[in-house]
Symmetry: C2
DNA sequence: GAATGCCGTTTGTCAGACAATGTGACAAAT
DNA sequence: ATTTGTCACATTGTCTGACAAACGGCATTC
């Protein structure tokens, strides 16, 4: 005889699960409004407090957001939700800069390979514009760092691979936030950074996979060297490099990466 | 004169943010109990409904969970929270099997490289045990598929790189769930699967990076061939291969990957 | 036609209550 | 001595009812 764990869901969890299913399977389409709280009370046969608590769970999952008025509309969770979670998880598990960097290095290389394959000109133009702006930002390390992060984000979008974008985004944000702390690093190396970006873009334009990956790898190794040279211990947990307030601000400041 | 966007947080959001900060910066340590709702009411000066709605946000973030009794304790969000989010995002953005597979292929290769570097014998033994069990599972495709997923999860843990584990886990779950649907595929190829796993493990034991990556790449390409041969269109969104109920069950069934 | 003010609707919050469930201690039974 | 029954207590889950603030939409005004 096999008996199983008893697991009774509370009312508010039931509210969450039913609405979540409805959104994920498309009964409620993205952009549609969710019924009002009063209506949900009628539908589910529970009181407003339970409905509201269930809605909070949806809210934190990124499945609903307040649209025009205060009505809730169904939304597809963008990369920033996954980023939030990744960042919380990485922070509390004391993930080190080295671990983060190693994975990011590989994903950036993959981004280069994929970009060479699909590379639409509109995406490449955006990258070119980013480089141009980066050159103008010389002398403003904070802006340079931000544009660097933006370059890599644009590159991942240029691949058209949304799994890559979703997976890479949080890593990019965390690395950026950590090095923002070590900003002195950049003063010396803005030149090298621009050179690397330019060469990467040129290689992608030429569809030269190996060259693009080579330059990207150099770029990432430069990044590491810069960190260690400015005294950072690559084996310290990221929470030593960046406080949570900064991270929270960063997450919310993301330009809501669109996944076409 | 520079005026900025006004952004007033509601009471329950404020409750969430303050508790989130406290946990992330360690004022409330992982494993500690959160004050009772009544106490939080006193502390924050708001009513229970607001406190409770704030707690729901924490709950969905994976920052708290019900411990012994019904008291809430602070928890470090494990990989399954990030997985949930990734999966919702990937599903609703209609990410295709191809996109997913391409990224997973790269991360698995990285896992091989890192495993060759650090490879502690206890982890390798676990992989060996998994292969042994896989061999016993011949004839039970469902079990084989599950053990295959488990192999890759164990491998990523063997790298000691928690950023990799957190990033890879959701991809593994999604790919597994999608192919569970195409289970016939496996009947023909369990042999090849075991051979691949064995060769990967042997190469890692011998610290032969190139060989390990080579076998892993073959293994992943086999996977793709198996999918297409059993009639799957690799360019269809994953939601065509797996319904949400299955995914939700999978997420909850995860053995709560520990990040040491 | 665009700006303004009013009104119904919906949400955010409060106030208070009760039942269900879990804890801990202690007595009773095996 | 270990297990079981019982009880008081703490805490959570849910309900009831209410009100102010904020918003959309509509009629009004210039």
């Amino acid at each position: 005889m096999r008996l199983r764990q008893i697991n009774i869901a509370t009312s508010y969890q039931e509210v969450f699960q039913q609405l979540e299913s409805a959104i994920l399977k498309g009964s409620i389409k993205i952009g549609e409004t969710i019924p009002t709280e009063a209506e949900l009370c009628r539908i589910f046969g529970v009181k407003r407090s339970s409905v509201r608590e269930g809605i909070r769970l949806l809210e934190q999952s990124g499945l609903v957001a307040r649209g025009a008025g205060r009505r809730l509309i169904a939304t597809a969770p963008a990369t920033d939700r996954t980023s939030e979670n990744f960042i919380r998880s990485a922070t509390l598990n004391a993930v080190t800069l080295r671990e983060l960097w190693r994975v990011e290095r590989e994903l950036e290389a993959l981004a280069c390979r994929l970009a060479c394959e699909v590379a639409r000109s509109e995406h490449l133009d955006r990258l070119a514009a980013n480089i141009k702006e980066t050159r103008r930002s010389a002398g403003d390390p904070k802006a340079t760092t931000r544009l660097d992060m933006e370059f890599h984000r644009l590159l991942s979008q240029a691949t058209g691979n949304r799994a890559l974008t979703i997976a890479r985004d949080p890593l990019g944000i965390l690395l950026y936030a950590s090095t923002d702390f070590l900003i002195a690093r950049l003063d010396q190396s803005t030149g090298r950074l621009i050179t690397a970006h330019e060469n990467i873009l040129a290689a992608i334009r030429a569809k030269d996979v190996d060259l693009a990956v080579l330059w990207m790898t150099r770029h990432m190794d430069d990044f590491k060297r810069g960190c260690t040279m400015s005294g950072a211990d690559f084996d310290q947990p990221i929470s030593d490099f960046v406080d949570h307030e900064t991270l929270a601000a960063l997450i919310r400041a993301q330009p809501e990466t669109s996944l076409p």
